[in-house]
Symmetry: C2
Subunit: 357 residues, 2 copies
């Protein structure tokens, strides 16, 4: 700030207008009495610089308020220090905490996050990856709607990590619903329910398949009947159709692919004069904003979704730093938990109840 104000040096850049203000590595080098490469190393490879030199350089840089130019860093190194995060629906509250977790972790590591909303479209998703290819160092694909093949293709040219999706050879962070689905089924069984309906979500959703599978197995163990309905759009707007089908199915308890759909079902029941949980019990996946204040408050299977977002970014950063991601891809699995609220209760006419009856 004191002597080498932006543009004050008639140095090597000559008369050419240097993009608005801003101190370069050369200004720092000159002021510190070292070569530009030493300044560069002091930041990028500190271990290769004498500690005293490094400290001096950093002090000078600080004093000059030096900020590296991201484009200039990226050009020779190919590293942008930017990560891409793709989500299928940015307006779904489920993704809020995922985004926040990812963003915190990224910025803590000095990375910038580019968020992109693919609006449930597989082609938009693929196109976005291709467009951002050179602009980011890697991608996190949350709840990808792409086929496994397409994901593998993209993974050949891009470093990527999946969230809530498993594809052989691609690292991932997933919330495992298996245990909590079993708990949910046990909860319903203990309330006397014998017949369950699952309201399916988008066909390309891996979670959708995982949830149904876990539900089917748990039901079988408990000797309950489980039917699969749908698929329905994973929004509140999917509620009416899903609710009507569920009611028609004769099930006494309904488990929806996600809480958005479950809330839609709740509203449809209210409109039709069907009481929850007296006439029918409703539960859903994803403990989103609103699940606790809809009416009645919704029993859900909750994902530790902020941790999942964080973990995915960690995985990605690991691949980026560790020998350019050639390592065996690994995955992290985080357990979900059951949140019982008021939308589930005794099966109508069912006699066997829990002791708290």
């Amino acid at each position: 700030m004191t002597e080498v104000g932006a543009g004050s040096s008639p140095g090597p850049a000559g008369r050419r207008r240097r993009p608005p203000s801003d101190v370069t590595i050369h200004d720092v080098a000159r002021a510190a009495g070292v070569a530009a490469s030493t300044v560069s190393r002091s930041f990028g490879r500190p271990e290769r610089v004498n500690i005293r030199t490094r400290e001096h350089v950093r002090a000078v840089a600080e004093q000059l308020n030096y900020r590296p130019n991201p484009a200039a860093r990226a050009l020779p190194s190919g590293r942008t220090y930017t990560l891409g995060l793709l989500v299928p629906d940015i307006t779904n509250p489920f993704f809020f905490d995922l985004i926040r977790g990812a963003e915190r972790q990224a910025s803590a590591a000095g990375y910038t996050l580019v968020l992109s909303d693919t609006e449930e479209s597989p082609s938009r998703e693929a196109r976005t990856v291709e467009q951002l290819h050179r602009a980011v160092d890697g991608f996190v694909l949350a709840s990808s709607r792409l086929s496994a093949d397409r994901i593998r293709q993209l993974a050949a040219d891009n470093i990527l990590v999946l969230i809530n999706r498993r594809v052989a050879g691609v690292p991932c962070a997933v919330a495992d619903n298996t245990d909590s689905t079993r708990q949910l089924v046990e909860h319903l069984a203990s309330l006397g329910h014998r017949r369950l309906a699952y309201l399916g979500g988008p066909r390309p959703s891996w979670s959708n398949a995982q949830r149904w599978e876990a539900l089917r197995e748990a039901a079988q163990e408990k000797e309950l009947t489980a039917v699969r309905l749908g698929p329905y759009p994973p929004f509140m707007a999917g509620g009416p159709a899903a609710a009507d089908a569920a009611i028609g199915s004769g099930a006494t308890a309904v488990i929806a692919f996600n809480a958005l759909l479950a809330i839609g079902v709740l509203r449809r029941c209210a409109d039709r004069g069907i009481r929850v949980p007296e006439d029918i019990s409703i539960a859903g996946y994803d403990d989103i904003f609103g699940a606790d204040f809809c009416s009645p408050p919704l029993t859900t299977v909750a994902s530790p979704i902020q941790d999942v977002g964080r973990a995915a970014v960690d995985l990605l950063l690991g691949r980026l730093t560790t020998h350019q991601g050639r390592r065996e891809p690994h995955g992290v699995t985080l357990p979900c938990y059951l949140r019982i609220r008021d939308s589930t209760g005794r099966a109508p006419g069912g006699e066997r109840g829990d002791p708290a009856g």
Copy 2:
């Protein structure tokens, strides 16, 4: 794809590993039989290239699947084709549609959006702007928590556009609550309410001041009493304190700074056995996700927030292209509208009602 596969040319780059694959402008130039600068111009300054040359170059580029390297574009030109969007709380549903509107508009114009969550912290907000300074072409600051002075300072070194904030000399897109606040007050007056309480939000929030001001004036016109309480944290967690204060104030109708807070108030009333709207009427600003299915559904003042996001990006792009933003800063104002639901009703004991009584 046919003859100049990535790295197939032993050209000027020599043996140095070219960052993974990818066709450069030189590959296109060679294949098209023109100079690299002509390829560059064919995209960036098409009007300065013979139409036939341009078309040919583009065809070749297409065929080779050429993608410009963003860092390389940014370095000499200083333009990154990236925009920064800062929001105070990414988990507040209010911002979802704003983000979606901004993102759509940005990507339609070929820009990438970098989203940053400032978590209600003015210092984080300022720091983020400074860090992203060279990484983006301009910023949209949504509901900024910075002081007017700090905003002006930042506006000196950065191109920026505000959302829901007015600062002289800085362009902005704002949702105007004035008319709809008046409508809300009239609605309450017609239900017999004489005494209103406003539950204030964050002091640095401009909307907060605007809302109170509009409310105060409208109340005065209608000869109602209005008291201002708070400030309260603009989350559901602020509900209990706000509700207790409101109830204690003797007001029969309560207007909360935002819907998050209003929903928190609703819950507190339920816990305390106070009936809404029989004992007290509740309304809030921002027609967020959940406002229509909380219980009772909330009367709100709704912002056309997706349009506001879109408009802000338009303004920013305008400044970016039109002579580098030297133009007189202009602002757009979008009107809000009132959504009456079940959380507002007759004043307790009030006799004068609306004709629909």
